[in-house]
Symmetry: C2
Subunit: 220 residues, 2 copies
């Protein structure tokens, strides 16, 4: 398991957001186009060759494994590689999640054709992916960060692709366990999926935080 923990200044993190965040956004657009294109096979082959050339160019210098986390001197932990919120991760929509200190997290975002399950609808597993992240962020925002212990989802109705929102809140805390609830909503505000999760702070995370003399208020 290779991953990186980098200590960065707030300025370096900002550069990373603009430069590498911009790159990821362009790859997201390319991914959407490659899913939906109907250009002739010859054009596809030419585009593919060019993509492979660009990939080789980016790979000339790269970190050896997964992205891991960047910790700033201000004590925030940024998961720029995270599959839901990672600015540098083209697989992530990415969600920009807002938080409040009492353990609430919310976000409005767009899930386009790349997140399809049933025709025209958000994949049930993508709903779970988004809700897992926002539940964990609500737990962390309330001062009790943790990894997912259990997750329960109830699919009330299908979620049409397009504009969506999600909200999560802490229901209660019992020792190292934080119980949080969340909802996914479609563009008109109707709830489509309800979720409940238990988040547990593992030992490695407690040790890493002790080592850095800090307790992150959230993973972002």
């Amino acid at each position: 398991m290779d991953y990186t923990v980098v200590e960065m200044t707030v300025e370096e993190l900002e550069d990373e957001r603009v430069v590498f965040g911009g790159l990821a956004e362009s790859v997201r657009e390319l991914a959407d186009a490659s899913l939906r294109t109907t250009v002739p096979a010859e054009v596809v082959a030419e585009v593919q060759t060019e993509i492979e050339r660009l990939t080789a160019r980016l790979r000339k210098e790269q970190i050896p494994g997964a992205f891991g986390v960047s910790m700033s001197s201000q004590g925030t932990v940024r998961g720029h590689g995270n599959a839901v919120v990672g600015l540098r991760n083209p697989v992530a929509p990415p969600l920009k999640i807002e938080h409040s200190d009492e353990g609430r997290a919310w976000s409005s975002f767009r899930l386009g054709p790349l997140y399809e399950g049933p025709p025209g609808m958000v994949h049930g597993g993508v709903a779970a992916l988004v809700l897992d992240q926002i539940l964990g962020e609500a737990a962390a925002a309330g001062g009790s960060p943790g990894m997912t212990g259990t997750l329960q989802l109830r699919y009330v109705q299908g979620t049409p692709l397009g504009e969506c929102s999600a909200e999560a809140w802490i229901d209660r805390v019992e020792g190292a366990k934080t119980f949080a609830k969340a909802e996914l909503r479609r563009s008109d505000g109707e709830t489509t999926v309800q979720a409940e999760g238990i988040f547990i702070l593992p030992r490695w995370a407690r040790e890493a935080m002790d080592e850095h003399h800090q307790r992150p208020t959230r993973f972002e």
Copy 2:
């Protein structure tokens, strides 16, 4: 909600697999490289400009919305846009899932840095995403396809990024509800996440199948 239902011959589906599947695979590699690259900002800017040019080229001809499904004359339904198994979807790993008639589904696959949650580990929500898909495919393989009604996940331990496998099976069927169970396993075969789901066949799917005089044995 825009999506496409295309009737294709088996030959057309095969062309699509090779040509557009190859394109998606090259975009997946580019996504991984863009997440992990440490090349200078000037190089990133040049690469980004070229990516935008390629995207415009692919967008010259494209379907209006989400990918939807392609139905072949042989009665299989292919979700090439699906967020987990879609050959044309760069967000999908993609999983190649095998099935047996008695309602079992299994797959070996790699979850690389693009699927990270905690440092070096598979995002808990990505585990849910994969398990939701394989549970649904087990239900369908056993003759009872459906959309996710409820999904329960228990995270036994973290799943290291890298080689993984998953297996799902039908526990029981009650009317339109199929109860299925699944496990995600790390490379040494140890179970990392346990899942249980209820899958329900919605009316629109029953009607679509009647219209095509067929009952798909699976979504693939």
